[in-house]
């Protein structure tokens, strides 16, 4: 009978409750979309942040890169062995660097040896005119920074001659890099070439990695790598990881406050509807009391009704919300946000709670005095 009564109550006041249902559905929709976003935001944001470049640095202890050659160097094979051994799917790119200051056509330039094909993965934001790696294998390729190219009047395909101490290398410009930073003043060539030129075979100045994941995930990886490389220093590049964490917590705060605000507004809307409904139902409540219905049972009945409304609204809203978040993901990140089904129960629980909070006026029905009700007509 309880469920039958509940069903009749819901049907009996369907029109009145439509507003409340609408409010609950839209609330559940926005909340589930936001929750979905909130669960996924970290992954999405860290992916976005990887375009900012390397965020992990392996360097010699007390590294100083002053003078024409690095004061301290690292053994390339040790570093690459360590990176190989500490496997992590979040490592997007890793590249060793050997820096020396030499000259090109009698102008001083920073010569950087690295694995050229790793550069676009390590620094996705860099723009290039030409190619990352020369397609013609016969001549050794290099990439020159925008400023260097301007100064030396180099274009893609030009030849450039690099000098370090007594040694000399003849290279072909495969591409011109626009990094928007210090790299625009550098010349990049394959690590082996640079080591040869600098007379430092098998040695590097430092290595950079791009690791995706949360701030803590990155620190964990850094710690594991550090354990494998006790002789060197492994540390996150702080500005970037901190900016990530900061932005993340701000977006989180925004999402949470929006959820709170929307919940409060919805509860108010439900409150208004229920207050009107409570007035309408005074007669029915008076009658139920006269028939021997206890306050507890009567209020439970109405609360259950509201609970069902909340659950139904939450269910429909959650489905719509997951769609909404998919759409938002597409718009904001240009990538679909994966639907998190664990959000489903949370959204429904929250919506039921909001509905019950909004149904507080129904509790006033407990105070209805049947004797007065029957006198009203």
């Amino acid at each position: 009978m309880f469920w039958r009564l509940l069903w009749k109550l819901l049907r009996g006041s369907g029109g009145r409750l439509a507003v409340a249902i609408l409010a609950l559905v839209s609330c559940a929709m926005v909340v589930s979309a936001l929750l979905n976003l909130e669960f996924d935001i970290e992954r999405k944001l860290t992916q976005e942040f990887r375009t900012l470049g390397a965020n992990l640095l392996i360097s010699p202890r007390n590294a100083q890169i002053t003078g024409s050659s690095p004061a301290e160097v690292m053994i390339e094979s040790e570093v690459s062995a360590a990176i190989q051994s500490v496997k992590d799917p979040n490592v997007m790119a890793a590249a060793p660097f050997l820096y020396v200051v030499g000259s090109a056509q009698n102008t001083a330039v920073v010569i950087a040896g690295t694995h050229l094909e790793e550069l676009p993965k390590l620094e996705p934001a860099w723009r290039i005119e030409g190619e990352w790696k020369s397609s013609q294998a016969q001549q050794t390729a290099c990439l020159v920074g925008r400023n260097v190219a301007q100064q030396l009047k180099l274009a893609v395909g030009s030849s450039v001659s690099l000098t370090y101490l007594k040694k000399n290398a003849q290279l072909k410009v495969a591409g011109i890099i626009d990094a928007g930073g210090a790299e625009d003043n550098q010349v990049f060539l394959e690590l082996a070439e640079a080591q040869d030129l600098a007379g430092l075979p098998g040695q590097i100045s430092f290595a950079q990695l791009s690791v995706s994941g949360t701030t803590t995930g990155i620190s964990h990886y850094a710690a594991r790598l550090a354990a494998a490389l006790p002789a060197y220093e492994v540390k996150p590049i702080r500005q970037i990881t901190e900016a990530e964490g900061d932005l993340l917590s701000r977006i989180r705060l925004l999402i949470v406050s929006m959820i709170v605000l929307i919940s409060a507004l919805t509860a108010l809307c439900v409150l208004g509807t229920m207050a009107a409904l409570a007035m309408e139902r005074r007669q029915d409540v008076g009658l139920m009391k006269a028939l021997g219905g206890s306050i507890g049972r009567i209020v439970t009945l109405f609360m259950a009704e509201v609970g069902v409304l909340g659950a139904a609204g939450g269910f429909i809203g959650a489905i719509l919300g997951l769609e909404l978040s998919r759409w938002m993901g597409q718009r904001v990140f240009g990538q679909a946000i994966s639907s998190r089904w664990e959000i489903f129960p949370w959204t429904i629980i929250l919506t039921v709670a909001i509905a019950l909070a909004g149904a507080l006026p129904l509790r006033l029905l407990g105070k209805v005095k049947p004797a007065i009700i029957f006198r009203e007509q």
């Binding site: 009978m1 007669q283 006269a290 021997g292 029957f374």
Partner: protein, 229 residues
């Protein structure tokens, strides 16, 4: 015959208004009492107190060995569910419940529902073909008969009816009054407020009120009883 209702010096005041100013009388089990009197004389107030819908200011109102004045809220709730069957002038059916569901509502608050039994109760009052109708689709007399079926479903000790025919036309009044006659002959105890002396004459006794006091008690005789249409 056992005394079912004992009212002793019952008083009820609403602020300065004295609705009941010291009323005493007894009702034997199986008796049909008509409560009469001008408007505002305290008839509904008495019914509400006997039915546990209201509490007296002072005095005793004992129904089936229970002093209603001493019951707390939950005690009153149990009392209403177990001992009283109400019939109102305005019927007070729940509009979105069918006839049978309105009867089942009383079962629900009393103990457990039994749809078959509820249907039988409606058949008893001549509504076998109205069982699934909503109150809005029933005539006033039919609605009041549903209310009678509802009042009887839990086998109450006492039936309290406040002007049960007040809202009915003559034909409907007759069917409902016929029902009360049957209930009376089956041994139910009935307290019924009415303005109609002809209906009052059908009862075993008429109790007349004025200004919150009991002013006259008249036993009916068979002659007056047969005078009703």
């Amino acid at each position: 015959m056992a005394t079912l209702v004992r009212v002793d010096d019952l008083r009820k005041e609403f602020g300065k208004v004295r609705a009941l100013a010291g009323v005493s009388f007894n009702v034997e089990a199986g008796e049909w009492i008509a409560i009469m009197g001008p408007s505002g004389s305290g008839k509904t107030t008495l019914i509400n107190i006997l039915g546990g819908l209201d509490t007296p200011t002072s005095g005793q109102a004992i129904v089936d060995e229970v002093d209603v004045a001493r019951l707390d809220e939950s005690g009153l709730t149990r009392f209403r569910a177990q001992k009283i069957g109400f019939i109102f002038q305005q019927f007070h059916l729940v509009p979105y419940l069918t006839a049978v569901e309105n009867v089942m509502l009383a079962q629900y608050f009393h103990s457990a529902t039994d749809e078959k039994e509820a249907q039988l109760a409606l058949e008893r009052v001549g509504l076998a073909d109205r069982i699934e109708h909503l109150p809005g689709a029933l005539s006033g007399g039919e609605q009041q008969r549903v209310a009678v079926a509802r009042a009887l479903i839990n086998h109450p000790k006492l039936i309290l009816a406040d002007e049960p025919t007040g809202n009915l036309d003559e034909a409907n009044e007759e069917t409902v009054i016929q029902l009360f006659r049957e209930l009376h002959s089956e041994g139910h105890t009935i307290l019924m407020v009415t303005h109609d002396p002809a209906i009052g004459n059908l009862a075993d006794r008429r109790i007349e009120f004025a200004h919150g006091r009991l002013v006259k008690v008249t036993p009916s005789n068979d002659a007056s009883r047969n005078a009703y249409r």
